[in-house]
């Protein structure tokens, strides 16, 4: 069996909802049925066959080739299998995802991994704002799973995040972990202003340059054992060498004191 491959002929003129193009939604469909599926393109419908060349027969492993940022909602609500995106992904990549694995070779748009419950998202390039966040008006963002971004991330990463791990190899924007409820975010590069704004619980491990808000209090240098466990888990996952090893000794800041102060920002004490 070969991966079910959807090769985009040319980027559509406006964004389309591509949530249909993920493993569980295509399971059991013949090539003809897949080509006949309708996608929303602006104010009209368009068939998959009009936009994509379809080949392969392994519904559990879907590959989207020549992808562009016009393909929104890729892997949204995914429950199983793998989705490999060659190129860029639009907004809402893997939103509400429940299981499986999504990898994007290029960049991803805003709200990637928003409100996901489990599974893995790997983004080779940069990602927009609201990574792993909650949708506007909702109370909880990412509720589990694992997001790994090799490039930069935008603002409001992990906003209202409830559980899970977000790893960013380069820089993150402003308001990192804003109103976060729990979970772990690790950023290797620098970060924008106001990290941990409204942080209730959870951990921001910042390995690069960072300036913390006044509402975080210094709790001193510590060797925290859970970081050893976390590092072992990351090593076991593989492909995360750029982020490892995690620091043995960290400087712990508790906050946001404006919202209870039960969260923490950890800085590499060796810096």
């Amino acid at each position: 069996m070969t991966a079910l491959t959807l090769r985009l002929r040319e980027s559509p003129p406006v964004s389309i909802d591509a949530s249909t193009l993920s493993p569980p939604r295509l399971a059991g469909l013949t090539r003809a049925r897949i080509e006949a599926l309708e996608l929303e393109l602006g104010n009209r419908s368009v068939r998959v066959g009009e936009l994509f060349d379809v080949s392969g027969d392994d519904w559990d492993n879907v590959v989207v080739e020549n992808a562009t940022e016009r393909l929104m909602h890729l892997g949204a609500g995914m429950e199983t299998g793998t989705l490999e995106v060659h190129g860029d992904a639009g907004a809402y990549l893997g939103s509400g995802m429940r299981a499986g694995r999504i990898s994007v070779s290029g960049n991803a748009g805003i709200f990637a991994g928003c409100e996901m419950e489990s599974g893995t998202i790997e983004i080779g390039g940069n990602v927009g704002d609201w990574l792993g966040a909650a949708l506007p008006g909702n109370k909880q963002g990412m509720r589990g799973g694992f997001i790994h971004v090799r490039g930069h991330a935008g603002d409001r990463v992990a906003d209202r995040m409830r559980r899970g791990v977000v790893l960013i190899e380069r820089n993150a924007g402003a308001y990192l972990g804003s109103c976060m409820l729990a979970g772990t975010v690790i950023v290797k590069g620098g970060i924008g202003p106001q990290p941990g704004f409204g942080l209730k619980r959870g951990t921001l491990l910042l390995l690069g340059e960072s300036r913390l808000p006044e509402t975080f209090n210094d709790c001193g240098r510590h060797e925290l054992l859970f970081l050893t466990l976390l590092e072992r888990e990351l090593r076991a996952r593989g492909g995360l060498e750029a982020l490892l090893p995690l620091p043995r000794c960290v400087r712990r800041y508790c906050g946001d004191l404006a919202t209870g102060g039960k969260g923490e920002i950890l800085l590499d004490a060796a810096r």
Binding site: L225, F226, L229
Partner: protein, 297 residues
Amino acid sequence: MIVNGVAIDDTFAEAFGMRATRIIITALESKWALHAANTATGFATSVIACGCEAGIERELTPEETPDGRPGVAILLFAVSSKELAKQVERRVGQCVLTAPTTACFAGMEGEPIALGRNLRFFGDGFQNSKMIGGRRYWRVPVMDGEFLCEETTGMVKAVGGGNFFVLARSQREALAAVEAAIAAMRRVRGAIMPFPGGIVRSGSKVGSKYKGLVASTNDAFCPTLRGATRSELTPEVGTVLEIVIDGVTDSDVREAMRSGLRAVCDLGMSRGILRISAGNYGGKLGQYHYKLRELLA
């Protein structure tokens, strides 16, 4: 059956179904993991009055522990799931949480019972949880930093009460034999010998002449009562010592008993070992029977 001059009684040990869990205790240095493990498994010789039977299974190298520090694996056995959960919580709470630099992890898969789930409240609201690799851990702030404890440990059906008696000419000879047996049995994973040093000198029978006592001295094996009761002992027997074994599985108990019996027989009659016997209740109470002669066949 006679092995190396030692008579092997045609009898069997009768053991019972229990509930068990394994817990891994780690610390900055192995001595502190051992202090915690020894304390947590202290006063846990018999379910008759201790609530559970517990012991150190083995020491663990840093490569074998979840956090890469030296550790100790302990096993705890109780007669019911509820009692085991109660004992785990009390013992970890009083003996591991309190020991410097320690952390505590589940040592086996099985039906989950609380490990750090309730102990976290010691953190008085400052505790944090972390999900790592699909497992939940609690970080409880304590005066030396943080006590890291996994939320649950696994509970399995297990076997408790495997046993055998070593009948020797003298106390010294009996003690040397059971010490050799314990050294061999400690190499078997999944089994513990919960009594002091692994050895019991006060083997018991069920019931007593006194109301309310559920167990009393096993007079048939007491050498000083040879002329006063229906004794099982021949005149040359001066001392009897017992080893009790609890195991995670039936085969763990079997293997531990086999190792112990062989070690005793290796010493043989020339070292004062006369006979080996075992305790049972006629085979009507326990689900597991370990026939001595089969084990040594």
